[in-house]
């Protein structure tokens, strides 16, 4: 039998690789697992000052492994009240270096690439992102 593909739709989906297992993302909203702790908007959304999510409103990782929208975190660090501390654990904020290609950096659960993880699926239903990284 000969099958001829007449046309196909490319489907793509992206999410920030926050080091949190993708299985956790579908639990209810009140789980707070996947929202920026400062503005409470999901990581995949953008900070309240931006209109478009993605590379223009990136995330920032601390060496303590906590993640925020970069704009939210910088706004907090810019206030005197912050004492330059991570909002989660009050340790001095140190931005973690994240290399493209993603080898784990200093602390264990910060891994992955320096940008959105992109998954494409030709004609197939979208697949979940590969486990781990």
């Amino acid at each position: 039998m000969k099958v001829e593909v007449k046309h196909w739709h490319a489907v793509a989906q992206w999410r920030w690789d926050t080091g949190v297992s993708s299985d956790d993302t579908n639990k209810g909203d009140d789980d707070e697992g996947d929202v920026c702790g400062i503005c409470r908007v999901p990581y995949e959304g953008c900070c309240p000052a931006c209109k478009v999510p993605g590379d223009d409103c990136p995330l920032i990782w601390g060496e303590c492994s906590h993640v925020f929208h970069m704009h939210c975190l910088l706004k907090w660090i810019g206030t005197a009240a912050s004492k330059q501390q991570c909002p989660m654990d009050r340790r001095p904020w140190v931005t973690a270096e994240r290399k493209i290609g993603g080898s784990p950096i200093s602390t264990g659960n910060v891994t992955g690439s320096n940008g959105p993880t992109t998954i494409t699926a030709d004609a197939n239903p979208p697949r979940p992102p590969p486990p781990g990284s």
Binding site: D30, G37, I38, C39, R40, A49, T79, A81, P87, M88
Partner: protein, 219 residues
């Protein structure tokens, strides 16, 4: 501005959906930035059985600035002003963090009721009462919970009607008040002076009657 509204709305909704924490939030005068929070008094404390209400004001730069909270319900506690309801708690001041929420802050207030910090008092007189005679302090706190927060009836001190309340509210003994009132001083003045001097429990032996009379004559 818009971000603040969105976050607060989300927090109010989260609080509504969460039935396990027993924390509730409602609007005062229709603004989402002026709220009334409430929670039950913690168990095994003099506040048990009471319902405590807190006035909440959300500042313009929330969550980068702490929420303003004070007790609406009168509370007898070293870190709460017995007159104004002002609260002494680090996270409402310099230990604030933008990841704290209305719910988590109210839970912190609830746990402040469990663990008074008399060395960093908001109400120095109450703190003195707490450190010198804890049993008597707890009795007064329980009495306040009963009359102001709708808590269960504490064992009522015997005495005459409305005046008796004044004495119990101040955490004093009727016998002491009667004694100085008998010398010809007005009752409310006696209550005021004895409260200021912390004329309670073991402390009574430390304060001479002359000292009390001296204070009464001064005021």
């Amino acid at each position: 501005m818009d971000a603040r509204l969105r976050r607060v709305n989300k927090e109010i909704a989260d609080c509504k959906n969460d039935r396990t924490s027993n924390i509730s939030l409602e609007l005062i005068d229709n603004s989402p930035f002026h709220l009334r929070g409430s929670f039950p008094g913690p168990e095994d404390t003099p506040y048990q059985g009471g319902h405590f209400e807190v006035d909440i004001i959300i500042p313009d730069s929330y969550p980068f600035q702490p929420v303003k909270m004070k007790f609406i319900t009168k509370v007898y506690h070293p870190n709460v002003s017995s007159a104004s309801g002002a609260i002494c708690l680090d996270i409402l001041k310099d230990a604030w963090s933008p990841v704290l929420t209305l719910k988590s802050t109210l839970i912190s207030l609830q746990s402040l009721l469990c663990s008074p910090e008399p060395n960093d008092p908001q109400d120095a007189e109450v703190a003195k009462h707490y450190t010198t005679s804890k049993g008597s302090f707890e009795e007064t706190a329980r009495y306040w919970t009963h009359i102001y927060a709708g808590g269960p009836g504490a064992k009522d001190p015997k005495g005459s009607k409305s005046i008796r309340d004044e004495v119990a509210i101040a955490g004093l003994e009727n016998a002491h008040v009667d004694q100085f009132e008998g010398l010809g001083f007005p009752r409310n003045k006696v209550i005021d002076v004895l409260r200021r001097l912390n004329y309670r429990g073991a402390n009574v032996a430390q304060i001479s009657e002359d000292r009390v009379v001296e204070e009464l004559l001064k005021s």
